[in-house]
């Protein structure tokens, strides 16, 4: 018998670092009222879009069009990837940081969550959720952010858990399983905290699941409601699915991008994803509601109050998950939504009526949407095995990454992709956990462009543009200093004059941008934070950059002290 040396008990790996394991108690006082009035504390970035209205606008104006050329890195956070993990070739840093009174909360790929000092970048604590290597991932090993409030950090995991972490220690307070990984479901969305509810949306539309939006009690983790986006037979809108068919059971319509919220209507405005199978419409005749739609959901009950479908009976993979930005016009409550299909929709957010629809994409030939909202398909995969080519390709004229809106200029700043695709319908049988596209797809890798476009909120008219040789797939940020920030797939982080599009500054960060920059301030110094790390569904939105350098850094810029 071997006389073994006692190796003891395994310890937390973070114990072999200089991470102290605790953060200041700043999140205890973050509640619904503070998030509702996020605009009154521009030093913070309290919720995913900076405010419930989705503007991605910071009132901070210390950095302006005159001095932005002096921006330099204040600090950089890096973490890297160690060992094997799911989607190792597609992991990306897609997050939106949250900042509360000098503490920054950041989520990463593969179950990482960090709290750090927003002035120095020093870690306060880190959390790692163990993610199964074989988790089905649609579009890379990614996470888009967290919600902070009630002393907790709320985050979803790739294997479809919702977690509440203690904001002071990073330890788990509650952990709920909310999706079925055997059905190809996963979690990538940044939760939205409204009242005492944590709202999360499903991922996995390419695997033929049934999309849903869920609410959990922020204190206890109790499941409060679920809202399916695809109706069962007999439910409202079920007549938009074929009768006596099981198509609804795997109909898609996922909700993987955070919605916005209007406290006066008490409605969440949430985009839904593609129907499944993506390109084979013959097995799902009808409009297929509420896929590719904007839905208005009562936040207290989870009931769909109204819906507007941007691409009925989608045959191009034109999700409508992208943001719904709330704004007013002549006293009317509206929302603006830039869709994958290349059109900018303005809806009355009280009743869902179409106010206007205008094209914003560079090349659109899949079909046409008339001024009254009538959708006329022109080019689409129809005959089995026969290639068709259309613009925009399946990644859309705009990816999930977000536009911003400045109340100063009344312009939207939109990252635009100009990439086409060749698609042939390929019928296949549905099987759980197997991708369910119904097509063979090749996105163009050479003929591509990107644009930052400034769009007039009240007319849909383009006011200015900036051209980039590769598609733009980073969110934009606009500030009270009239500066627009965005990043490129080749790593440059750019600043523009929001009024006229004049290019003001750029910095090479070393990897492509596929995330959402923010702004905040501490002790009177304004910072711009940009997560950098190329990956995700690159073969969809920029295959010409599939070989680009990966990365995983958070750059924080400021003016010299």
């Amino acid at each position: 018998m071997t006389d073994y040396v006692d190796a003891g008990t395994a310890m937390d790996l973070s114990g072999l670092s200089q991470v102290p394991g605790s953060a200041p108690q700043v999140a205890n006082s973050v509640n619904y009222e503070r998030i509702l009035n996020a605009g009154s504390e521009p030093q913070n970035w309290l919720t995913y879009y900076g405010g419930y209205n989705g503007h991605r606008y910071s009132q901070l104006d210390q950095i302006n069009t005159e001095n932005v050329k002096n921006l330099t890195p204040a600090w950089v956070f890096q973490f890297g990837s160690s060992g094997l993990h799911a989607g190792a070739s597609t992991y990306a840093f897609e997050t939106t940081p949250i900042v509360v009174d000098g503490v920054m909360y950041v989520t990463g790929w593969d179950g990482w969550v960090w709290a750090m000092d927003a002035v120095t970048g020093q870690l306060h604590w880190q959390y790692k959720h163990a993610i199964p290597f074989d988790t089905s991932l649609c579009c890379g090993n990614v996470n888009r952010g967290c919600a902070v409030g009630h002393g907790k950090v709320f985050v979803v995991t790739l294997n479809a858990h919702v977690l509440a972490l203690d904001a002071e220690t990073g330890k788990v307070v509650w952990d709920k399983t909310w999706g079925d990984v055997r059905a190809g479901e996963s979690g990538t969305v940044a939760p939205l905290l409204v009242k005492n509810l944590v709202i999360v949306g499903s991922s996995g539309g390419e695997f033929g699941n049934r999309g849903h939006l869920d609410a959990f009690n922020a204190e206890t983790g109790e499941h409060v409601w679920r809202c399916y986006t695809v109706p069962k037979p007999g439910e409202p809108e079920s007549d938009t699915w074929p009768a006596d068919s099981d198509a609804w059971q795997r109909g898609g319509g996922n909700t993987w991008v955070t919605g916005t919220f209007d406290p006066e209507t008490n409605l969440l405005y949430w985009g839904t994803g593609n129907p499944a199978p993506d390109f084979d419409g013959e097995v799902r005749e009808g409009d297929n509601r509420w896929t590719d739609s904007v839905i208005a959901v009562d936040v207290d009950t989870g009931r769909i109050h109204w819906g507007y479908q941007c691409t009925p009976h989608d045959l191009w993979d034109y999700d409508s998950n992208m943001e719904c930005i709330l704004f007013e016009e002549d006293g009317r409550k509206l929302l603006g939504h830039f869709d994958k299909n290349g059109y900018f929709f303005v809806l009355d957010r009280v009743n869902g009526a179409l106010v206007r629809v205008t094209p914003f994409a560079e090349r659109i030939d899949w079909g046409e949407i008339t001024a009254d909202g009538n959708v006329i398909p022109k080019i689409y995969p129809d005959k089995e095995g026969e290639n068709v080519h259309f613009w925009p390709g399946p990644a859309g004229a705009k990816e999930w990454t977000h536009a911003s809106y400045s109340p100063r200029t009344e312009l939207f700043y939109v990252p635009v992709q100009d990439v086409g695709s060749t698609v042939a319908r390929v019928r296949r049988q549905f099987k759980e956990s197997i991708p369910y596209w119904g097509a063979s797809v090749t996105v163009d890798s050479d003929d591509m462009n990107g644009f930052l476009k400034a769009i007039d909120a009240h007319t849909g008219e383009e006011k200015w543009r900036w051209h980039n040789p590769t598609p733009l797939c980073s969110s934009t940020l606009v500030t009270g200093g009239d500066v627009v920030f965005t990043g490129t797939p080749t790593g440059e982080f750019h600043a523009f004059d929001a009024r006229n599009g004049v290019h003001l500054w750029q910095f090479q960060t070393g990897s492509g941008h596929h995330s959402s920059p923010i702004s905040y301030s501490v002790d009177g110094r304004q910072y711009i934070a940009a997560p950098v790390g190329w990956g995700g569904w690159v073969e969809g939105f920029a295959p010409g950059m599939l070989g680009g350098p990966h990365g995983d850094a958070l750059f924080v810029f400021a003016l010299p002290e």
Partner: protein, 149 residues
Amino acid sequence: MTANVEQVLAGLDKQNSAALGKLIGRGNVAQAEEGPDGTMRATIRINLDEIAWDPAVLVLPHGGKVEIDVVNDDLNTHCAVLPSNGDSQFIWLTCNSKGKAVLELDGPGYYWYGSATGNDEGRGLTGVIMVLGDVPAEARLDRPTQPRP
């Protein structure tokens, strides 16, 4: 010239045979035992000169807490970095040493673990923990049972 397939297959299970290292995932498969309190228990070890974990695949019948005895029967120093919700678990394994790791893992799905010491990287010591089962009923989609591959 065609390689002898049987010879290659036999060599996949050994250090410095067909390839340089033992092929990942090849070797024994063992299942953790479940105690009356629901905690699962298992042993993984590094045998002499194999530069690999035995079993190559540790099976857990479901997600939850597992206590693993980690044994180094080798005459070299190794370590293990194991997945667990909250933080990875690290244990240093000197020659002929034995320790314990307590892991919390979700199921279903499988996880890799390995070593963070320089001489082990690229040579092996990459093991698998496979968790069986299904997600809780309340987390499943409201739809009839679907076909699987």
